[in-house]
């Protein structure tokens, strides 16, 4: 079962375009949408939320078509934008009063609990809040209507490390229910990559991969070795190579092949998602 199905999305802008992006967000799991700035993560999320109309392709959210004019399917979504989208001259209490009636499942007790947990003063005006507080407020609002799907665009931007950890805890608690799904986008992969079940990687508007995180991490391997081992044929085996005066570091997307090719002559390491992102993005830049 998939919570979201993105099918062949294309969207052209002046400076870049999303070309034929297809992926699924499985129900009951956490999916991370990763990629550098400008990869198209926000555009995809906006298309899912009906903010942006794709030129081509279709999106299904929880079994409903996510057409741009539609609203119903958003009932089940807790959306957290990368910037504050609220009327910032209102207090957090006033803003909540505007939002709550739109959601039949609104849970006022839960809302009050989150506000207390996040130490957010209800009377404070949104414009007087720090970036972190605004993000916490958005999270409190999103969780208080008990959504089946949580969509977060760069949720950790502007958050201090302490709250980032607390957020991980909250998300893990939310996903204890196997009927719930989380999709988040981020360009800082380190803090969320631990809890993500699936990873979808976009670069320059194109899908690089969409797979289980464990599968991805097992497929890739980081190789470190002496420069004399590198020639053009060898280079072609890698996703990306970083050469220095004292050796090279390279990412391979075929662990088995690489190990049988180099044997014991190089050092192997488990790459992080950040390593995978770095080498892929770097190589794509060189090719342009």
């Amino acid at each position: 079962m998939n919570a979201i199905e993105v099918q062949g999305i294309c969207k052209s802008y002046k400076n870049y375009r999303l070309s034929d992006v297809t992926f699924q967000v499985p129900k009951g799991y956490i999916t991370g949408l990763i990629g550098p700035n400008g990869a198209g993560k926000s555009t995809i999320i906006k298309a899912i939320m009906g903010l942006v109309k794709p030129d081509q392709g279709s999106i299904q959210v929880l079994g409903h078509g996510a057409e741009q004019g539609e609203g119903r399917y958003k009932q089940e979504i807790g959306y957290i934008s990368d910037e504050s989208i609220y009327y910032d001259w209102l207090s957090m209490e006033q803003m909540k009063k505007i939002i709550a009636p739109f959601y039949p499942a609104w849970d006022e007790t839960a809302f009050q609990r989150y506000m207390e947990l996040f130490e957010l003063p209800l009377r404070k005006k949104i414009k007087d809040c720090s970036k972190g507080m605004k993000m916490k407020y958005a999270i409190a609002i999103a969780l208080s209507h008990n959504p089946a799907l949580l969509i977060m665009d760069e949720p950790t931007a502007g958050l201090d490390p302490v709250f980032r950890r607390e957020l991980l805890e909250l998300l893990a608690e939310y996903i204890l229910d196997d009927q719930k799904t989380i999709l988040f986008s981020t360009h800082v992969t380190t803090d969320l990559d631990r809890i993500a079940d699936y990873v979808t990687f976009l670069n320059r508007g194109q899908l690089i991969f969409s797979d289980t995180k464990d599968g991805v991490l097992e497929r890739y391997v980081l190789v470190k070795g002496g420069k004399e081992l590198l020639d053009n044929d060898v280079r072609r085996e890698f996703v990306g190579v970083r050469e220095t005066g004292i050796g090279f570091e390279a990412l391979s997307a075929d662990r088995g092949g690489t190990v049988s090719m180099f044997g014991d002559s190089v050092m192997y390491q488990q790459p992080s998602l950040e390593d995978i992102m770095y080498f892929t993005v770097k190589e794509a830049r060189l090719r342009v």
Partner: protein, 212 residues
């Protein structure tokens, strides 16, 4: 239906911050302190309210907020028309009360300048029917210029409307009106409604195609 109510309620919450400005304006031009003519109320207040209502969620971020609510885009547009009309009516009701109060104060008989009221209502609703599609079409950045243009139009139109209302030779028209009371009212109301409905449909079409 309840979502329209919720959206209208939202607009009322948002307008609270202007309530003092409006109150001061009304008191200022009521004629209590200076010899003001009613053009400043009938002519300007409804237009001003209209602009305030529309521009309260003009920012792109706020448009995004509205679209992420579980409401169809067409309903968002509809609610904007409903609130606009409500606020125009509210403004005219305020004007009428002031008008009545002042005439009671000056001549000891409560009367309302119906010609003014009607001229103002019709012109503001026509204005709204042009303003809202433009607002959805121009979007956030153009919207600010649109507001300035609107404000100027309201000011200029104010003179024109009151000019027409006071100087136009109504004799022929009122004779015609008197001979066909039902027909003329029906014609007037239905053409006004038609204009608003067409305006709404255009706004929906524009807003549905807009990326935020």
């Amino acid at each position: 239906m309840s979502e329209i109510l919720n959206l209208v309620r939202k607009d009322f919450i948002l307008q609270r911050r202007y309530i003092w400005i409006i109150a001061l304006y009304v008191i200022g031009f009521s004629g209590l302190f200076m010899n003001s003519n009613l053009n400043m109320l009938y002519g300007l207040l409804p237009g001003m309210m209209l602009i305030l209502v529309v521009s309260s969620d003009m920012r792109q971020a706020n448009q995004q907020f509205l679209v992420t609510l579980p409401v169809k885009r067409s309903r968002l547009v509809l609610s904007k028309y409903v609130t606009s009309i409500l606020f125009v009516l509210l403004a005219l009701a305020t004007c009428s009360i002031v008008n009545m109060g002042m005439s009671l104060y000056h001549s000891h008989s409560a009367s309302i300048d119906y010609t003014m009221l009607l001229a103002s209502l019709i012109s503001v609703l026509v204005l709204m029917s042009i303003y809202l599609p433009l607002y959805y079409w121009l979007g956030i950045h153009g919207g600010q210029y649109l507001n300035v243009a609107m404000m100027m139009l309201v000011m200029l139109g104010n003179g024109a409307v009151s000019g027409i209302a006071s100087e136009y030779d109504f004799t022929n028209m009122s004779t015609w009106l008197n001979s066909h009371p039902v027909g003329s009212i029906a014609l007037g109301v239905s053409s006004l409604l038609l204009i608003i409905v067409i305006s709404y449909l255009i706004s929906v079409r524009i807003f549905k195609g807009r990326d935020l």
